[in-house]
């Protein structure tokens, strides 16, 4: 009795958060069963009739499943690898800047895109890519060329999307690696300098080896998320143009369209179900590996 009285305030304080997680996270988990049902709004999630794995058969009989999984995985691999290389390089260069004011100005400017919503990013992209009004077509016309119809030509979009993603997240990646760089002991570098090591040698022989655990940890954490895509990037920036779907459609944009635009809840819920379950397996695997390597970095 005393125990309950003593800890009651803690349980009461925890309650609103717990209720929110039940509504926002656990009820949808139970709701995943719609992937195995023929959903009917009138009957709701629980009342709709079961239909086995029909939704999945339907999903895989279309070409969409292969396309959205391919795009999701390939873009993520490109984002992760390019993000690491450019992020680490930028962090090392930023670390060479010792004056306070420039340091702060660089950080503030390069982080700016990360602060913006994807809607705003899509407007910025449109400033450059608009057919008549775009900066790039303006330059092309001045040079005597003909307009490129950017939002109709799939071939440009893999490069465009990778560029825009890297541009938006560069500041974030740079700060991430920079924050672990500044923690390295100066002793190593001073000793290296006494021995006459060049800057380049210091980077390859001291900085990169010290940074390796951070890079590997972040790499594995990101690989754990490889089945998820940034809905905003793939929906907003290509302006949801059907002509581009072959190279811009990912699991998240597909699930959204099939849920609210087409609509085809069977397709949408089965694709979403696969994303949730495979995503869970990926995250658990990634976390298991990290727990073995460096326990303090694992999620649990």
């Amino acid at each position: 009795m005393d125990q309950i009285k003593r800890f009651l305030p803690f349980y009461i304080m925890a309650l609103p958060g717990i209720i929110y997680l039940i509504i926002n996270n656990y009820m949808p988990l139970v709701g995943l069963q719609v992937a195995f049902k023929r959903f009917n709004y009138g009957k709701g999630i629980w009342g709709s009739p079961w239909n086995g794995i029909k939704n999945f058969e339907f999903l895989f009989s279309s070409n969409s499943a292969q396309r959205i999984i391919r795009n999701t995985l390939l873009y993520n691999v490109a984002f992760i690898l390019i993000g690491i290389v450019i992020g680490v390089a930028a962090a090392i260069l930023l670390n060479e800047v010792r004056q306070k004011r420039p340091l702060k100005i660089y950080q503030t400017s390069i982080l700016l895109p990360y602060l913006m919503s994807m809607v705003i990013i899509s407007y910025l992209a449109y400033v450059f890519l608009g057919t008549n009004t775009g900066v790039i077509n303006g330059v092309i016309r001045r040079l005597g060329g003909a307009n490129i119809n950017w939002y109709n030509e799939p071939k440009y979009w893999p490069a465009l999307l990778i560029f825009i993603h890297v541009w938006k997240t560069l500041g974030f990646n740079m700060i991430l690696y920079y924050s672990s760089l500044v923690g390295f002991s100066q002793d190593y570098y001073e000793a290296a300098e006494l021995d006459g090591a060049t800057k380049w040698q210091q980077i390859t022989k001291i900085t990169l080896p010290l940074l390796r655990p951070t890079i590997i940890t972040l790499l594995i954490l990101q690989l754990g998320q490889i089945f998820r895509s940034d809905f905003g990037l793939f929906y907003q920036v290509p302006m949801n143009q059907g002509a581009l779907f072959d190279v811009t459609d990912t699991i998240d944009t597909f699930v959204y369209r099939a849920l609210l635009k087409t609509p085809n809840i069977g397709m949408s819920s089965s694709a979403g179900f696969i994303q949730s379950v495979v995503g869970f397996i990926f995250i658990m695997t990634a976390n298991g590996i990290i727990r073995k390597m460096s326990p303090s970095d694992s999620l649990f």
């Binding site: 958060g17 949808p28 139970v30 919503s117």
Partner: protein, 291 residues
């Protein structure tokens, strides 16, 4: 010595270039919004348009009703969402930080599991619309996904567990202080840095959110700034259809209006960003790489 000077020169050069690459598109957006619409169509946007114009802003000022309401909704949603979200996250985190609490392990797992398994859009959407009937209410912009995340709860809990000395709690308990008093008067004031950081990240997430509006709103009266921008992206005639003066879409400088609305949308963030930049940097580093 030469190496040093070269390295320093190289790093400054690259950093200046990266800074320009990050900032110039925003400068271009502002210039685009002040470009004459017909010049924009014939020449394309550029840093030096041959004819400037404030038509787009005149239009926005004439139609300020829509923009002001959207602003009001964005501000309201950001304030309520951040305040309520921060409150329930902090209270839950505080309970989890008490290692004598019976059932603490189970509760922690309950929170951490939400970071690992995500039901995704379909069941979330169906629960919110079919069970809670949240469509076309202000709740739709505040509650789904954004109000609290397991990740933020764990961040705050870690701060309570390591950043606040346990002896302070013990001393207060011996003095007979109630748990609520200890939470409000000891734990919270000592946790200001993490609360500011998490609160800032939540505030930005609310200000920038357009997805909840996309999923749960049909009623354009409830649109936030981001929803209006998204709507214009999907359908440029939204500008004219919401016009009170009844102008035709063909007569509008629609290319520059959309740029001007984007400028108006990011202006507040750009203005206050330099002041919260430090917390923002801290927010990035605090969660991702632990010591």
């Amino acid at each position: 010595m030469n190496y040093h000077r070269n390295m320093s020169k190289l790093s400054h050069t690259v950093m200046v270039l990266l800074s320009l690459a990050a900032v110039l598109p925003f400068v271009l957006l502002v210039i685009a919004s002040f470009t004459d619409n017909s010049v924009a169509v014939s020449e394309g946007f550029s840093f030096h348009p041959s004819k400037w114009s404030a038509d787009a802003y005149n239009y926005i000022i004439n139609e300020r009703g829509t923009m002001l309401r959207a602003y009001g909704i964005t501000i309201l949603v950001t304030l309520i969402g951040t305040a309520v979200g921060l409150m329930i996250s902090t209270m839950l985190a505080y309970s989890l930080s008490n290692d004598e609490l019976p059932g603490r392990k189970l509760l922690t797992f309950f929170v951490v599991f939400t970071m690992l398994f995500n039901g995704g859009l379909v069941p979330t959407y169906l629960i919110y619309t079919n069970v809670f009937h949240i469509k076309d209410t202000l709740f739709a912009l505040i509650v789904p996904s954004l109000l609290m995340s397991g990740f933020n709860v764990v961040l705050i809990r870690n701060y309570f567990a390591t950043g606040v000395p346990k002896s302070l709690y013990e001393a207060a308990r011996i003095d007979g202080a109630s748990e609520i008093y200890i939470f409000a008067r000891i734990a919270l004031p000592l946790s200001k840095p993490i609360l500011a950081t998490v609160g800032l990240l939540m505030g930005i997430a609310y200000w920038n959110d357009w997805q909840n509006g996309l999923y749960y709103l049909n009623d354009t009266k409830l649109y936030s700034i981001q929803n209006i921008l998204n709507q214009i992206n999907e359908n440029i005639s939204f500008i004219a259809s919401n016009s009170s003066s009844g102008v035709k879409i063909a007569d509008l400088p629609s290319n520059t209006i959309r740029m001007a609305i984007a400028v108006v949308g990011i202006l507040p963030i750009i203005c206050i960003y330099p002041f919260f930049q430090e917390y923002f940097v801290k927010g990035i580093t605090v969660g991702s790489v632990k010591e």
